[in-house]
Amino acid sequence: MATDRKVSNWWTVWGLLILVWALFPLLWMVSLSFKDPDTFRSGEPTFFPKDWVWDNYRTVFTDSLFTSALRNSVGIALIATLLAVIVAMFAAYAIARMDFPGKKFLLGMALAIAMFPQAALVGPLFNMWRNLGIYDTWLGLIIPYLTFALPLSIWTMSAFFRQIPWEMEQAAQVDGATAWQAFRRVIVPLAAPGVFTTAILTFFFCWNEFLLAISLTSTDRARTVPAALSFFTGASQFESPITYIMAASVVVTIPVVILVLLFQRRIMAGLTAGAVKG
């Protein structure tokens, strides 16, 4: 017993170490965001601020650069996620359940797109978007986001669909359901954990994306938060914008954290438990 306890103590120590390692940048970010922008570099540096001030947040939220970026981010990420989930749901269902020529090819292509380096696409996209007139618009960002989010979404969702026993659908069909009714009333509810997982992953991808966001936008019209952060300046050129940037970062991190905490259970819950013998 003594050795067991020793071992488990070591695990705790390890766990704490890793936790500190992972959380340190986050804590540093939060701590900076509460420091006084004028004085945070003067005097003796401390990890936690001497005086906790909300000034940075106030400034950030009055800055139209940030508020419009926040609006763009929320809008673009939500629309892209919604579209990606809907398209991926049908595609994944077809891949999981039906046999059609070129299925392997389609899956292979999807994977190839996921592997494709985004940086190589930025130049051509920039030119194309300008010619098409969708440069610096929401649509101009939603389209490439969909392209890069779909392969992963299709792969994850088709894995979820495959786990649902065939009998579920057959039972529904025998019970009098059309293919669409069986899909909507049985398959989709059962795949809900998969749909949520996919939606969250896609949302994070769109929310955090920087490269395309900064290359395909030029004004407040479509610039998202990650891109906007790089344009932050202090009140004067002698003032560092660091504390503002940190405050803005904290603000954009919060939705991500909330989403994970909210849907963690949902993702984990094996909704299919008890469907069949087991």
Binding site: A171, Q173, V276
Partner: protein, 399 residues
């Protein structure tokens, strides 16, 4: 309610595998029929063709007078209970049972009434708000049956519904299914590989082997007058004993002595070089326990008893014997098909529990040659079968 007629039904898969081969079967309105056979014999495929989950390669499937080959499952108005129940895990028991009604857009009041009635019939009333995950195996099974009942379907189809339950529950559910079927009087097709279920449940049994229908009849007909070696070996436990024999000049040579083949039943066989003789274990008896007046009807022989097993109500004795290679091969093939673990070159005899025969001793055994079945050694056909034999017990009691 509807009768189901199958005419020359064939199922061939894309890779050329023929799962069901030219099956014709008439199921009367309200009849309870069992499809039975070892795994891979095509019984489930046939059931799925009735319900419409499997395409029919050729032949006609006629339900209630209409050809349904091209109809989608939802247009056939049949109810099916799947092997793994296929309950909807995201719905409560109530909604699971109500599902078919909801699809038909039945008014709420009627749904509640019908579901409650089905739940009462199946003793599920107190579980209606629970989800399938929180139910026991037997309860899940009943929910699946509830879903079938509320449909008021033309026929019920069961695909090995009890194979996931433990032995005790299986017995209970078997009686429950039987009771339900009698009460509702709905045409029922029931697929199983378990011969106890087959013998006890249905009005008639259809035995399938490699997609070919072997014999259709009541449990008694199949047991007493099997059409061939396969049916004879499949029905009955412990299975029928098969020994080689030779017909010569009105006499049959068996490994246990020569017996007279003078009776009308055995005379039909004629002279044959090699046959397979089938004798059920319970048709043997310890000769010392056979009443004196019965003894002359039978044949007594001396056997080396290898092992005995006393089961309380009877005693099994195992008697090894040598068989010629032609017969051994045929029997080995049969054994493979039936998935039986029985060693075929030994005789299993079921004796009276009071017998004093012990392992490793010599014993005097008695059997009645009239109970013998004689099978063709090459084709396996039963040469002594009387296909028209009627069993009074099968006739419905007139009231």
């Amino acid at each position: 309610m509807a009768a189901i007629e199958m005419r020359n039904i064939v199922k061939r898969y894309g890779d050329g595998f023929q799962a069901v081969d030219n099956v014709s079967l008439d199921i009367a309105d309200g009849e309870f029929i069992i499809l039975v056979g070892p795994s891979g014999c095509g019984k489930s495929t046939l059931l799925r063709m009735i319900v419409g989950l499997e395409d029919i390669t050729s032949g006609d499937m006629i339900i209630g007078g209409t050809r349904v080959n091209k109809k989608a499952p939802r247009d056939r108005n049949l109810a099916m209970v799947f092997q793994n129940y296929a309950l909807y895990p995201h719905l409560t028991v109530f909604e699971n049972i109500a599902f078919p009604l909801r699809l038909k857009k039945t008014p709420d009041a009627e749904v509640t009434e019908q579901v409650n009635r089905a739940a009462e019939l199946l003793q599920l009333t107190e579980h209606l708000d629970r989800r399938p995950a929180h139910l026991s195996g037997g309860q899940r099974q009943r929910v699946a049956m509830g879903r079938a009942i509320v449909r008021q379907a033309d026929a019920f189809l069961f695909d090995e519904p009890l194979s996931n339950l433990d032995a005790k529950l299986r017995g209970q559910m078997r009686t429950e299914i039987s009771r339900m079927q009698r009460r509702l009087g709905t045409t029922t097709v029931y697929v199983t590989h378990d011969q106890t279920e087959a013998m006890t449940l249905g009005d008639r049994i259809a035995v399938l082997r490699k997609g070919v229908l072997q014999q259709v009849g009541s449990a008694r007909q199949l047991y007493e007058e099997p059409a061939n070696l396969f049916v004879a070996g499949f029905i009955g436990s412990p299975p029928m004993n098969f020994v080689p024999g030779r017909f010569r000049g009105g006499e049959i040579e068996t490994p246990f002595g020569t017996v007279s083949a003078s009776s009308e039943r055995l005379r039909k066989v004629g002279d044959r070089e090699l046959v397979i003789i089938g004798l059920r274990p319970e048709h043997f008896e310890d000769s010392s326990l056979v009443p004196a007046e019965k003894r002359p009807h039978g044949q007594i022989f001396t056997a080396e008893v290898d092992v005995t097993e006393w089961l309380g109500h009877e005693l099994y004795a195992y008697v090894p014997y040598e068989a010629p290679p032609e017969v051994t091969q045929q029997l080995e093939e049969l054994e493979r098909e039936l998935d039986s673990e029985q060693m075929r070159t030994q005789l299993v005899v079921a004796l009276d529990a009071g017998s004093r025969i012990r392992s490793g001793s010599k014993a005097q055994l008695w059997f009645d040659p009239e109970r013998m079945h004689v099978f063709d050694a090459a084709t396996g056909e039963n040469l002594t079968r009387d296909p028209d034999r009627v069993f009074e017990q099968d006739e419905p009691v007139s009231s």
